[in-house]
Structures are given as structure tokens and as C-alpha cells.
Symmetry: C2
Subunit: 586 residues, 2 copies
């Protein structure tokens, strides 16, 4: 390189006026205005305008040959732009480079996608030319934020006495959880490694080893059907601590979040965060990951309907069920019959027998139960529970079911009827149930995982009588309606662990097959410990204001798990398969 | 936890005397001395002695039941030890804890391997109980050093404007380089991802994207036969820079090393590091990764032998060959005839026709060529090239061959005859040849990889006449005889790249199959760029004074690529194979 940069484009400003500088970068655009070439040069730091006068004959001739996305080096003097050419929207908008020497470092064909504007193009095309897509300001901003977050996270955890320890990516397949990606072993044909779904077992073993506080920003792998916004590989901030209780872990996590929001967005996150119990959020929002910014809380109308003539409601209430609903304010006029029918269909698709609606449009009450529950509806209006131009959707049934269905309806209402809110809704959900009842297998199953510590008071009280009442020492962090982190205090007592295994009906053989080496390790002095994992991709996406995690991953995969750029996954040679002693079975 | 720690064991000292503290940790040992229990409690920070008096009846009874590796919480007052019990070798050796309350947090069976002493046990046993092995002081020290190194590396590179960007682990199999680990795709049956051997292509694409400076501490995967001290997965400090030349990269790397050595070992690494050309190190040490601390440089005796009566030597010299040798000082008496024969066999095993030796033991000259080269030997002695009690090993042949064979002999001599040296021998090797001649395929091949930039002067001069004379813009970092890092300036000019492909005889089809997407990307303005990768595991091993990288990896694999603890790799279910549409073919 003849002309090696002395400065970066985006760092220049009027304080550099008069200096001779050399810049290296990409030509974002170049055009001829009145016989003079005006160009915009881009590098990682930003952009700056350069000007080539035809008097510089040799350079001007070169300039004629260059196009967008050429890589060039320019040497020139920083000068003030004419007053009428100053661009206040650009950090370097007051200056330009009067070029006196130039070198073409490499050429560019016409790029198949625009680099300098955000057009609507297919995901496939964006990913095929990801290296061009990544030249966009938006993608640079996102990946720079991600880089900063990585450094902040590690610095914070290191300062808090965590050790970063790398755990294996070639590990053992376990039958629990999601589907494993497998890696055939060549040295032990017929055997397979699995890529880890998380470093869960290893981090617990590191606690057994006495490492006290561990962290890792770990790649995790899950071979799921990539619906929604999932990736086959994703990153999580994984950590584990010894000799702690739940509060220690929540407080530590809050400190990390506070720092990230402050340093990345200059946003003051108020801590301690709100904590909701599982029962609270389910009754209030019908979801264990509510976005509370939108209100739309679930109201219990059971008291108002307990003497209704409408049998199908009253009988449910008499049998301990509920009628609950969500009131959407001042939008009744937006709900035509057709639109209401759509919501009814939706409610049915998520398990409802039907959907009750009540609305008040220009003084006129309309409702699907107007005739059979006139008094109750009047009563509700009198109480002011539903106001003019409000519409309410109600569900009748067993409480948990009602909550869940209304939770779905609530999410749909937020997406379709509410204006998108700014800011961040950050909260903890705690006191999850320890067990669920598996109808198919007719047995208890662990809701979180079987190493989660139950609340000991609950356990003592209900283990033998009503285990579904036992709550677990686990916790989820929710941001803007996304489950952003999840963790628990783990069981370290053998007697308790055995009792839990017994309760979920695991035989010694099964225990050994599934968790053998962890159980073995726990014979030799496991400390009390717990931890959590934060979904790093989603966290950055939410902080960057992006809907999809693909916008914050340098080289993501499509929904079918493929990479249009490298064409992975791809066919491999017979020789490779033979070495692994596997055959295709298509 | 009733007793939650207020302090850590290893941080206590005489300044804490009189304070009541709570500690949580492992019982490293406990014994009864004159009816009083003396124990040593261990946590991540270190160890401290605790004392339980039988007057504390309740606690004393508990203490009787606890054994090594139990996890306990103790509460007690820090007091000065009696003068005769002070242990100067222990950071907490002046104090002990007078326990007044205690809680057993978890029990331990007798550990199958010792935690508190370094015994000679099989690797298999160590790895099976790795969680106990990791309790050893040595392993803690190593992993803490590794943690610190990780933070220093990232901090240094961040401060130098590098962005940490995570590249995919599920990527495309390429037929170049070592053997890939494959991952069958379920969503696209019959197709496979490959785990990356390095992020090479992605980091070059990131430069094309304009990220300017990239780094990552990346896991890399190679399915090789795990001879020597290799692991199927390993970590490298991977980085790449745009708009730079070789010197920029070497200087940056030197700054990183200087910082690591200073902060981890308080060792002042002198920079700039010595730089050797490939020709220099090959002629001097017979290796491109020499450990220069041991001297034993190769001497060229060709001038001394050019008129020798020994035909087999003279003829080689007449044909442009060499006779060269290594002189081992003051050790002739250690070389019996049998030992010399062993070295002769070794020389043959690494390609020599035979081994010439000359020694001078107590004034008497002995040599395998004494009779046919008496004058030359005398001459060598007269010149002082071989002194009393020295022994020299000489090889005759074509220069490069001779160097390589002597290089092997030199390494053997260092290992077997020299006392192990302390300190660090750190140097660069530059000016590697760009091409080698493949005898089998009868064509040029790229020595490094075909994207390596040649030295442009060489290229202009020799491309068409003598390409083997072309040197490449690549560089290796060598520490204590290990190749610790490797890198190059990459080609960014299309014309040059095409010419190189042509020289190594790649057809357009082959180019496309092997490097298609990189070539495609390079159409759109690739910047001049280059980078390097540092072997992180080996770097930490050398800095920690460990011979094997297994000592600095938390959960390494055995030489056969298996993990005795988790029993990975393992068999998987029929269901899993069916989902992937593959069959075993054993």
C-alpha cells in the first residue's frame, strides 16, 4: 500500500481543517457535479466527502474509472465545506477532503444488493450476500453494540469474581430436553458426540470442583424446527455460583443488566426489578412472560356472574371455575362482527370453547350473551368496568385454562390493536411450580429440570399430600414479553434428589443412564449452588430495537437451518462417510 | 443456608484477628490432636486452619462425623496461632478459626483420587473424576491463569479497535486442510454441516464487510488422529486487520504477548522480538520452530571436506550438496557405541542415509570416518570446532534434507542430553516459501494456503521462471520450540489470485467448488488485509510451565478423543439415526 491511512473517515471534523490526511475505505457513492467529482468514502468509523478537481488530471482520470464499493486510498487536505454545502445530519458534514493523490486498492462489480440503502429484499438474498448486507450502517451498529456488550458482560462478571471457563462442544448426547445435533466419531465408529444444548451439567460440575463462580458466553445448539425466530446455534451468558441463595443471583443479574442498559443505551434501569410470582402473572396477564407496558390485565368477573341465568357460566363458577376477561379501551368501533368472529376462531384455536364479548358503542350495548345475562352486563357497566367504546373479551372455564387462553388473546390484542411502545419492561417471575402432571404418562414431571431445588417449606408440607402445590426455587427474567433469562437454585442434597427422582417415577437405571456422571459427582461434596443463563442474541436484539435475532448475528441461518452464502449444510464425499462408517438412508 | 459466608478462607490474615467470620468450603483434612479437632478448610481463594474444642459439645459431635471433602459452613473467631504452630509457607499460616458454630452442607464419600496431593495416576482416572482432579491447587492455578489471559487478550484487542464477532460453528465442509467433523442435517437429509477448522473464511468475509479489525477466541475442530498433544477441539485467538502490512500485525501481536507475559507472570518480554527468515532458521536449527535457548546450531563443514578422500562426501559437495553437523559440548563421555548406534538408527528413521560422528574423549579422537577423513578431522580439531569431550553428528546430502535431519537430531539431543531451561524463547519466522513442489502430483502446491500474498518483488521476478524462489508474506510465532501463532497477508487482487490458482493448477471448477463464496465476495471490493491465529491452549500451557495442553483445559479428551467422565462419544438411539436418515455401516 502506497497510501496507508493516517486517519479514519468518521473521526474527522472541523478541528482537522488544514491537515493533510490519508484515508482508506469504500466508495459509498461518486458523482460528477459540474465537472467536479464528489464522492463519499466509508470505513468502520463513518463517512466523509471527498472532492476531485479536474485540474488534478491524473487523479481525475482514475476517478472516472471508479464506481460504488471500490476500495481506494486518498490523500488530501481537510477543508471546510462551502456554507451552503454543510450537512448538519452528518458528523463529518462540515468538512470535505480536497484530494491530491489517490490509489485504487481494489475494484468492485455492481453489488447485487444495495449497501447504502435499506431496501425490501428477500432474506435469502440478504444472507447469500451477507458480506455486503453487513456493510449497512444498521448492521454495523448492531454488531458494534454486540461487541461492546460482550466486553461489558465479561468485565462485570470478572469483577464479581467469576472465572471464565470454556466447556466442551463435543460432548455426550442426553435424552432430556430438545433434540441434539450429533457428530459421528471416526475413532469410535458407531458412536456420536452431541453438540451441547447448554453447558448445564459442566457448570454444575465446575461448582463441585470448587470454582465458586463460573461464567461463559457459550454457544448452544438445538436441532429444533426453526419456527419463529430461532437459530440452530445461539449464544447465552451462562453462569453459576456456589454458596448462594436466589436473591444473590437475582441481584447480581440486575447489576449486570443495569450496567448494560446504562453503557449501551444510556438508559437507567430501575433496580431492584419488579418481582411477580408465577401465580400473579398468570392471573394478571395469562402468561409467564408478560409485557406489562400494555396493561390489558385480566379481570375476574366470576363474582358478577355467580347468580346469572346463563347456565353454562353459572355452573362453571359453582364448580370452582371462573369467568374472566380483558377489556380493550376505546376501540369497540374497530370491532366489526367479522373481526369479532376472527377473535372467536382464534380463541377456539388456543383451546377455548367459545368467546364471550361485550361492547358499548355510542351508548348501545352489544354482547354475545346480551339476552341471557342482561342484568350482569348492566351491573358491569354500572360499576364502570366497561366504559363507552370499550370492548371486553371473556372466557369461561377452569381458572388455569381461562388464564392461558386470555394470555393468548392478550398477546394478539397487543400485536394488532396497540401502538408499539418504546422503552423496556423488565421483571422477574419467581415461584414457578416444581412439578406438572403429565396426563399421558399419568405421572409427575419436573417443570424446570429435576435438579431444581424446591422451596423447602412447600416441600415439607406437600411432598406427600399435594406435590403440585410445591413451588421451585427458579426464576425467569422477562424483557418486553420475551423470556430473557432463566435459572434456578440446584439441589445439592442427595436425600432430596433421590426423593424428587422417586416422585417423578425415575428408576435407578433411568437415573443412571440420564444423569449418571452428575449423580456420581454429587457423592463427593457438592456445594449449595445455583445459576442462570441469559439469551444473549435476544437481549441484544431487544436492546438494538430489532424484532429478529438475525439482525444481531453476523452469519445467521434461514428458518430451514441453511446458509445461502456458504451453502451449508451440503453433501459430502463418499470417502468422508466411509471414514465415519455411516451411510445415508434417504 | 443458615451460615452464609462473610469471608473467603484464603483472604484471612492477622489483620482479621478478633473478628467473627463465617466460611463455606471443603474440608481438605481433619484430624484429632490431643482431643481437639484440627481441620483445613478450602475454597477458591485458599485454605485456612480451623479448630474445634471438645467443650463445644454439639459441634464437636458433628465434627466427629465429617471427613475429607465434606462441604461445611463454620462460624468462629479468627485468632493468632500459638508461636510454635505458625506456618510460614501458608498465606493464612499465622491464624486459625476458633469454631463456635458449624453446619454440614453436604457429605462426601471417600474420593477415588487424592485431591490434596499430586499422585501418579492414569490419565483415564484423572479425566473420569475430572471434577475432583480440578480441585487440585495446580489445576486451579492453571484455569485461573487461563481466565485472566482471556480477559487480557480481549481487553487488549478491544482497546486496539478490534471488534469481537462470533462466527458460526455449523458451517460448510471444505475439502482443504485437515479432516472435518461432520454434523448430519435433519431438515435437509443427506446433507451435513461441518464444524470449523478455523474461522478463516469468515474472518476474511468480515474484512470484505468493512469491519476493519476482527477478533474472536474461537473454538476450532479437527478430526485428526490425536497423536502427541492434540485435542479434537481447541481454542485460538483469531484476528484479522484491514489496510495493514505485515509489520503492523507483528507489532500488534508483540504488544499482546508483552502484556500477557507481564500481567500473568511479571515477565518482561523484550520487544521487538527477534525475526529470523525461514532460510536462516532452517540452516541454523534445521527447523522452522526452533528453541534457540539450547544453542546446538548447525555448522557447515562442507568447506573443510571439499577435498576429502572420502568419495561419498566429496561427490555430494561437488554436486552442490553439504556436510553439516551439530556439536554437543562436553558430553562425549556419555556416548557409548550403543548410544551412538541409537542415534544412527534415529537419523535413518528420519531420512538419513547414515550418521557420521566424531568425538574427542580424553585426547583420543574417535569417528565413524576416522580412517578415510583423517586430515579433515584433524583440521576441524585444529580450528577448535570440536573440543575435548565434544561429540559431533554430521549428515551428508542435499542442503535442505541435511538441515531437516539435523533438525530432528537437534530436538532429540535437547530432549535427552540437555538440562531443561527456564524462561521463554520467543521469535518470529518470516519469509516462508510461497510454494512447494508436490512430487506425487508433479505440480506446485501452496505451502501456507492459496490466499497468502506472495512478496511482490519475488513474484515479479520469479513467477514465470522459478516460482519455488517466491517467498510469501506469512509469519509464524515460535515460543520454546512450539509454533504458537501463524498468519499471513492475504491476496486481495483478483488478477494475482487468478495467477496463483493457475500456477497451482486449479481449474475454474475446482476453484469454485473449494472457495466459491470467497471468490464471489472478492468481486465486490475486498480491502488489503491480513491476520493471524494464536494457539491459546498451547500458549497458556507454556506460560503455566505445563508440558501438555490437557493441564490447561477444564474438560479435555483422551488421545482417542473420548471423555471418560461423560463417556462421550456414545451410542445413540435408532430414533435419532432415523430422524437424521443415516445408518451405521460398521
Amino acid at each position: 500500500m502506497k497510501l496507508k491511512r493516517t486517519h479514519k473517515c468518521g473521526n474527522l471534523n472541523s478541528s482537522n481543517i488544514g491537515q493533510e490526511v490519508i484515508l482508506n475505505g469504500w466508495v459509498e457513492r461518486i458523482r460528477d457535479l459540474g465537472g467536479i467529482k464528489f464522492g463519499l468514502l466509508r470505513d468502520i468509523s463513518g463517512k466523509v466527502q471527498f472532492v476531485i478537481d479536474p485540474e488534478n488530471k491524473e487523479i481525475y482520470e482514475i476517478a472516472k474509472t471508479i464506481g460504488n464499493e471500490y476500495v481506494i486510498a486518498i490523500k488530501g487536505v481537510v477543508r471546510k465545506r462551502p456554507d451552503d454545502a454543510i450537512n448538519k445530519n452528518m458528523p463529518t458534514g462540515e468538512i470535505e477532503i480536497d484530494v491530491n493523490d489517490m490509489e485504487v486498492l481494489s475494484e468492485s462489480e455492481t453489488p447485487p444488493i444495495y449497501v447504502n440503502k435499506d431496501e425490501e429484499i428477500s432474506e435469502n438474498l440478504r444472507l447469500k450476500y451477507r458480506y455486503l448486507d453487513l456493510r449497512k450502517d444498521r448492521m454495523k451498529k448492531n454488531l458494534v453494540m454486540r461487541h461492546k456488550a460482550l466486553q461489558i458482560v465479561r468485565q462485570y462478571l470478572s469483577e464479581n469474581d467469576f472465572l471464565e471457563i470454556e466447556t466442551p462442544y463435543l460432548t455426550k448426547s442426553t435424552p432430556e430436553g430438545a433434540r441434539d445435533f450429533l457428530v459421528p466419531s471416526r475413532l469410535k465408529p458407531g458412536n456420536f458426540y452431541a453438540l451441547p444444548q447448554s453447558p448445564q451439567l459442566f457448570k454444575q460440575l465446575l461448582m463441585v470442583s470448587g470454582f465458586d463462580r463460573y461464567f461463559q458466553i457459550a454457544r448452544c445448539f438445538r436441532d429444533e424446527d426453526f419456527r419463529a425466530d430461532r437459530q440452530p446455534e445461539f449464544s447465552q451468558i451462562d453462569f453459576e455460583m456456589s454458596f448462594v441463595e436466589m436473591d444473590d443471583i437475582l441481584t447480581l443479574t440486575e447489576g449486570l443488566l443495569k450496567k448494560l442498559f446504562k453503557e449501551l443505551l444510556d438508559y437507567d434501569l430501575e433496580t431492584p426489578l419488579r418481582r411477580f410470582t408465577y401465580d400473579e402473572v398468570m392471573n394478571k396477564y395469562g402468561s409467564d412472560k408478560p409485557d406489562t407496558r400494555y396493561g390489558l390485565e385480566i379481570n375476574d368477573f366470576s363474582e358478577d356472574f355467580k347468580e346469572t341465568k346463563a347456565d353454562f357460566i353459572r355452573k362453571v363458577i359453582e364448580n370452582g371455575g371462573k369467568i374472566k376477561g380483558i377489556v380493550l379501551s376505546e376501540k369497540a368501533d374497530k370491532f366489526s362482527r367479522k373481526r369479532i368472529d376472527e377473535y372467536t376462531e382464534f380463541a377456539k384455536s388456543v383451546g377455548a370453547g367459545g368467546l364471550i364479548w361485550i361492547k358499548n358503542e355510542k351508548g348501545e350495548v352489544k354482547s354475545s350473551i346480551k339476552k341471557i345475562a342482561e342484568n350482569e352486563i348492566k351491573n358491569i357497566f354500572d360499576k364502570g368496568l366497561i366504559k363507552d367504546n370499550d370492548i371486553a373479551f371473556l372466557i369461561v372455564g377452569e381458572n388455569e385454562e381461562v388464564n392461558k387462553i386470555l394470555g393468548h388473546i392478550r398477546v394478539k390484542l397487543i400485536k394488532e390493536e396497540m401502538e408499539k411502545k418504546d422503552g423496556f419492561d423488565v421483571l422477574w417471575v419467581v415461584d414457578f411450580p416444581m412439578f406438572a402432571w403429565d396426563e399421558e404418562e399419568n405421572r409427575l414431571v419436573a417443570e424446570h429440570h429435576p435438579f431444581t431445588m424446591p422451596k423447602l417449606d412447600d416441600f415439607e408440607k406437600y411432598a406427600d399430600s399435594d406435590p403440585l402445590k410445591i413451588r421451585a426455587q427458579c426464576y425467569d427474567l422477562v424483557i418486553n414479553g420475551y423470556e430473557m433469562a432463566s435459572g434456578s437454585i440446584r439441589i445439592h442434597r442427595k436425600d432430596l434428589q433421590n426423593k424428587i427422582f422417586e416422585m417423578i417415577g425415575l428408576s435407578d437405571e433411568e437415573i443412571n443412564e440420564k444423569f449418571g456422571f452428575l449423580i456420581e459427582a454429587f457423592k463427593y461434596g457438592p456445594p449449595p449452588h445455583g445459576g442462570a443463563a441469559i439469551g444473549f442474541d435476544r437481549l441484544i436484539a431487544v436492546m438494538a430495537g430489532e424484532d429478529s435475532i438475525k439482525e444481531v448475528i453476523a452469519f445467521p441461518k434461514t428458518a430451514s437451518g441453511s446458509d445461502p452464502m456458504t451453502e451449508a449444510p451440503s453433501e459430502v464425499s463418499e470417502k468422508q462417510l466411509n471414514e465415519l462408517k455411516i451411510k445415508l438412508d434417504l
